[in-house]
Subunit: 341 residues, 2 copies
DNA sequence: TACCCAAATGTGAACGTACACATTTCGCCG
DNA sequence: CGGCGAAATGTGTACGTTCACATTTGGGTA
């Protein structure tokens, strides 16, 4: 049917060379901005490239140079959208500034998927890898899979595996809990995140430590899944327990659901019950009441992760752990103890 | 320093072959699950692969096969986190079911960046590309850049460029506006999204059409940026204009900010003013009051996009446009007209 | 005008893999 | 026990690029 008898092969460097009347090496020089080229030669080649719609074959380039200008990001989670998203953007910006692009491979957190995603990144000759994998088990898999490129872990449970950048979740949870205690609350409940999440575990530990340091009664945290919907259901259940005047939620979304449940039942926040969240997502300032919460500087996490990689600390040095301090953001959802539920 | 004098080259297929006492082709067969292999041979090769930590070089594979089992996703936006995120997950799941992985390239929406990101995807020999680029100008760039692989555009302004999958934003905006009008509102204001966004424009058009069809007075929409913060500021400004009893916000976050501003000023929703959002993000059900909004099925968008690609409709057929119907979700933020602001 | 050096351009090889095809091995039947 | 065919394994080549080195070109100087 086609008047062209040849197969629809993409043009390569030699096609361009032939068309422009130069050698393929000259074309290569044009592509790589070699200085020693007559301007008119460069011009002609560029024109042919445009005419033919030629695009360098990245696979061939990568094969021969084993360089790709790509930094891989392994994302082994779906939840925590805001934090992950923000970190990704920060990484992307920092990478761009340094002349790199980023390739994101997302995957479920089972062994096979993580391995495949890693292969995908390494296969693109990613020169460094950032691992965003907030679930503990992923790090055990990683321990068994040498990477051969510099890498940084975010929020790792295994500080021995490699360089780690993280917001100090434990400290953040202590800040939140201490704030409530300092307001005079003696009955503080914690709604935790999924227990296989490193951050959830650390936040719970921070809460427990602070409560026991204050010699208050520790009560078993409610285990949740970090959604607003769960917060709402948890809130409704809590209505049956009149044993608290403050709640520390492991993230802002859960707090939102909780606020909903309380409001629906006529429990006033903070007059009757105080609520603290975690993350300080942009919406938290507009919840009702505006939410007191713990701010995590996700941008800083992304930036530092990339800085570590670019400093080529991938050498055999001992793993570095950078902890970023969280910050208490005071709004209107907390106050002195009231009547409770 | 190193007792090993050889350079730290990654092992290749020939290293494995030598170590296992077979030819490199046999190793290749093991890697590609060839049927004609003695089980013990396969076993031995696999063991050597494990010992050496060998990983197939994806670049070489791609170079020779020009296949990659990768579907590229170009994401040229940062806002609209929830929608984009959900679509990405749906694409990823559908891709995995079909035996593909996805590679995500994010970029700013300027010409150079988009082109680079495309090159990055094509360079990985992506066999198909999904373009998530809600800003109009990106599509003009795309029109000038032939892709040579099947591709699908999401929310495209240019239906002529290729297959398009989108939620019918125009219809969604009409649903929202009509709902308010049917409740008896005659003074409906629209808070729009950024005007270079295709969806924002379509929603505004839907609003304008519905209002003029009802022969109500059209008033100039407020132009915003889709954040809760903007919604809050817009809400405070609206307090000076006592010329409306209902507001249609172009997304849920803006609506949240608006609710905040109104509540702060003692304006009751929906008693005094009704508010409708757009998107139905999971939190919308827990806002106060729970938000009446327009649901977009982002999962469906992702699924259909991939289905289109997998059906290899990339052939020269006329571009297909698949419109997904949005849906009105009634909650508590709307009611019969009240006193207004 | 011959010569030399730098600038400009060209040639051969290699990267690691998969495909097509060639060769060897092996069990089984006549 | 020879031979035959299928199963198992090996050899040559191509993919598209960059690097190292070789060669040509050109302008200025002795």
């Amino acid at each position: 049917m086609n008047t062209e008898s040849s197969p629809p092969r993409a043009p390569n460097i030699r096609d361009v060379a032939r068309e422009a009347g130069v050698s393929y090496q000259t074309v290569s020089r044009v592509l790589n901005d070699s200085p020693n080229l007559r301007p008119e030669t460069r011009e002609r080649v560029l024109q042919v490239i445009d005419e033919l719609g030629y695009r360098p074959n990245q696979a061939a380039r990568t094969l021969v140079t084993s360089k790709s200008n790509v930094i891989g990001v392994l994302v082994a989670t779906r939840a925590a959208a805001y934090g992950v998203q923000t970190i990704l953007y920060a990484i992307e910006d920092a990478a761009r500034d340094a002349g790199y692009r980023i390739a994101i491979a997302t995957c479920p957190s089972d062994e096979k998927s993580v391995r495949e995603a890693l292969d995908q990144l390494i296969g693109q000759a990613a020169e460094a890898v950032v691992v965003v994998a907030p679930q503990a088990r992923v790090f055990d898999l990683l321990a068994a899979t040498p990477l051969n490129v510099p890498f940084v872990l975010l929020d790792s449970a295994r500080r021995d595996l490699g360089h780690t950048v993280a917001v100090d979740q434990f400290e953040g949870a202590r800040l939140a809990t201490r704030h409530l205690i300092e307001l005079g609350h003696t009955q503080v409940i914690h709604i935790a995140g999924p227990q296989d999440w490193i951050e959830a575990e650390a936040r719970m530990q921070g809460y427990l430590r602070e409560v026991s340091d204050a010699e208050l009664m520790v009560r078993p945290p409610v285990l949740g899944d970090w959604t607003a919907e769960f917060g709402y259901r948890a809130g409704r259940e809590l209505l049956n327990r009149a044993d608290f005047t403050a709640v520390f939620c492991s993230n802002d979304l859960t707090a939102l659901g909780l606020l909903h449940a309380f409001r629906e039942s006529g429990i006033r926040v903070p007059a009757d019950v105080s609520v603290v969240g975690f993350d300080d997502i942009p919406e938290a300032a507009h919840y009702w009441p505006p939410l007191t919460t713990i701010r995590q500087d996700f941008n800083e996490v992304g930036r530092r992760a990339l800085a570590l990689l670019l400093a080529e600390l991938g050498s055999g040095d001992d793993p570095i752990t950078e902890l970023i301090r969280p910050q208490l953001v005071l709004r209107s959802s907390t106050g002195a103890p009231g009547s409770g539920v």
